[in-house]
Structures are given as C-alpha cells and as structure tokens.
Amino acid sequence: MDLKELYQDIILEHGKSPRNFGKCTGYNHEAKGHNPLCGDQVQVYLKINKNKNVEELTFEGSGCAISIASTSIMTELVKGKSFGVAKKIINEFLNMIKSGLEIKSKDLDEDQKLKIMSLSGVKQYPMRVKCATLSWHTLVSALDGKKVEINTEKVD
C-alpha cells in the first residue's frame, strides 16, 4: 500500500495545524484518553447546552500525526451536532476504521464525508488503528459523563 494513502495531505495538514486545540471556556463535560503502548494522550472538553447540543468541542494532547489529525477532524465534524447525531457519527467512524464500512451518514455534508474518509487508510495498518480511534472513544466517554479514563488496551 502506498504511504500517501495513509498520510494524505488533509491528514498531514490537520496533524501540523490541529483545529479546536486547547480548553474551551465553560466546558461542562470532559474526558481523558491514553494509549499506554505508545504514550499518546488526549483530553477532550465539551460544552453541551440545554438542548443537548454539542456547542463547543476542543482537545489537548500529544501524539503522532494520525492521532492529532483524527482528533482535529473529529472536533470539526461533531461540534454543533446534537448528542444523538454525535453518537451516530462516532459509530460510523469506528465501523469504518474497524470493518471498512462506508460512511453513509445524512448528518454530514460531502466535504465532511471526504474529511472523515481520509482516515480510512488507517485500516490497512493494524498497528495504527488505536492512534486514530483513541480520541473518538474518549469523546464517547465525555458525552456519557463517565469518569473513567479511556485506555486503548481496554477498549475494542
């Protein structure tokens, strides 16, 4: 497989200049994630409003290009969505990475679908799957208000 399929321009660009980086003001949900095998760490901060919409979504952390880009793209796609839609997008992403399923979500426009699909090359690199999924598992934990830190060795 061509490395350029894994390291697409959009991934390199988000890896270098991640969006929504830092703590957002007034966040009311947060969660931590950690990959003990490689040392990647991520914290996500959410502001969920009265109507159960994700008003703000930001992150802090360190990791490889894949993990930073995946997290950056995640914040762009989930920010502004309702709680339920956010969960659906996360499931679609995880199914794409694990089972190679297509992204069919009606909640994402074409441009957003291209962004999320730029991460599909990760499936060909089993060692890197957890780099891409760490922050998404962490976001689930934050949405559910769980206090447990996500550990990639303990999730699927």
């Binding site: 490395l3 350029k4 894994l6 390291y7 321009d9 390199l12 270098k16 095998l37 490689c38 040392g39 360190s62 990791g63 490889c64 290009a65 894949i66 690199y125 060692m127 890197r128 780099c131």
Partner: protein, 154 residues
C-alpha cells in the same frame, strides 16, 4: 500447573503451584544451546567489533542528515541508536520505515521517566546485530530521508 484439563474446560492447581510452569521449555533449551554454539563459532570479540563498526558507520551517516537528532552519546555505546526527526512523531517514522522493510522500535522503550526528563514525547530506535550489514544501514538512512518527503517537509 494445572489440576485437570478436558476438551472444554480447565482447572488450575492451588496457589502457589498455579503459577509454576508445568512443562520444561525443551525447545528453548535446545535453541539456547544452538545460539551459544553459533556465537562461539563467530567469537564474542568479532560479534562486538561487527556491532561497533556498524554503529559507528550508522552514527556518522545519520549525523549528516539535517533533520535527525541523535539522543544520547555514551562512551560505551551498544548497537542501539535512538533518534528523533524534526516535525515527525516517532510512530509515524516507524510506519514509514516499515514500508521500506526497516523495522525499528518507537515510543518510550520502557523508560517513560527518562523521556520526560529529556522533554521528548517519544523516540525512534534502530538497533544492529551480527546479522546486519552496512547495506542495511544505507537502507535505513535512505528510509529516514524519505520520512520528510512523505510529510512534505523541506
């Protein structure tokens, strides 16, 4: 140690026997003997010299690659070289090198505290043995140079 093994179930012995190995590692013992024979045939001195020569060759060559930063410079250096590449996380380096058939290790190498002290979130690490050649080092260096191309870094 087990208590009883059936097709569909197993029960273990009481502690502490439960955690005692039951079967002798026969294959490992035979392999260990062969390894010692192999090393004695070549000679420990020759093994060490080969590793030293390769390591020095690699160090000199890697120093000429501008983006590479070598980590650690002990007096008695073994055939192990830790390094970073500006702008690329070690796990990405490992994946890119892997595509050229070069296997390295990336991460904390079981010493997270040292990495914190050095203010590094991870390092890449190449190592050499008697089975490696100068040509292998050349392939490693070429693959390292390819990292910045894949990442579109000048």
């Amino acid at each position: 140690m087990i208590n009883e093994v059936k097709k569909d179930r197993i029960s273990y012995a009481q502690l502490p026997e439960k955690y005692e190995a039951g079967t002798m590692p026969t294959a490992e013992v035979v392999a260990f003997n062969e390894s010692i024979k192999f090393m004695n045939e070549i000679g420990i001195e020759n093994l060490i010299n080969h590793e030293k020569e390769l390591t020095n060759y690699a160090l000199e060559k890697m120093k000429t690659i501008n983006s590479v930063k070598l980590v650690g410079n002990p007096k008695n250096k073994a055939g192990v070289i830790s390094f970073t590449i500006k702008g690329i996380h070690p796990h990405d380096i490992a994946t890119i090198l892997d595509e050229s058939g070069v296997a390295i290790r990336a991460g904390h190498h079981c010493c997270q505290i040292l990495h914190e002290k050095l203010n590094l979130n991870a390092t890449a690490r190449a190592s050499f043995g008697i089975y490696n050649t100068k040509e292998d080092v050349d392939i490693l260096c070429k693959a390292i140079e390819n990292c910045r191309k894949v990442f579109d870094l000048k």
